[in-house]
Symmetry: C2
Subunit: 120 residues, 2 copies
DNA sequence: CAGAATCCGGTCAGATACTG
DNA sequence: CAGTATCTGACCGGATTCTG
């Protein structure tokens, strides 16, 4: 929790900034969106993801953990001859699709605007 | 531009991921939202911002530059006895308010969901 | 005043090698 | 197979000092 000073009349939106950060962090970084999209076609194992995305195991592990903690994917272990771990998107992840779409279209428009400005 | 492999049927959303990144980066970090909110009350000089936010000059400079490049603020130099540089939010910044609000409320809901899950 | 330069500790993405 | 361990180099936020 951020410590606020007495003369700080902005306490309310400093709290709101935390909500913003949560949302931003959720889809931040190079991989989260890509992983979600890849799993949208159907569940995949660790190895499959690694090969499809060309990502190092350490990074993949961390990204998967974060997505799991945010309830966007589920991790299920299958005891075969060889251990197999399957990752799948959750219903909640599908419910978040709208905000992803919102962000993407906003981002694309924004990019256009910046480009136009640079030329002008 | 990302290089895509032949077997890659996902070229379209790899491009869309760029839009997402633009949007996410726009309000990322510790300061951008706070600066925008602070300037929403009216233009301020570098020094004012520095004192209000208790931020180091290097970081403040970088954040202001990024916001300026993204057309969210404008920088105007006033030649007084002492040089004075004023920063103000743009109309475009006001137009982006809706997406900030969207992200914030989504983030707050998400936070609640995660907390509830942890307890359960 | 507005910032640039420098130094710092921490985190991040990635490559690589190794383990149960 | 599904990761962990280790090391790297880049970047981030910050403190401090210096300059036009």
């Amino acid at each position: 929790m951020l410590q606020l000073r007495c003369d700080d009349i902005n306490a309310d939106w400093k709290e709101r900034a935390l909500g913003l950060r949560d949302a931003v962090e959720l889809f931040r970084g190079k991989w989260k969106f890509v992983i979600l999209k890849t799993l949208a076609h159907g569940p995949l194992r660790f190895k499959d993801l690694q090969e499809k995305l060309n990502i190092s195991p350490k990074v993949l592990t961390r990204e998967l953990r974060e997505l799991e903690q945010n309830l966007l994917i589920v991790r299920t272990i299958r005891k075969m001859k060889q251990i197999s771990v399957e990752y799948a998107v959750t219903e909640y992840a599908r419910e978040t699709k709208w905000i992803l779409e919102t962000l993407i279209s906003f981002g694309e428009n924004h990019r256009k605007k910046i480009k136009a400005q640079v030329k002008a």
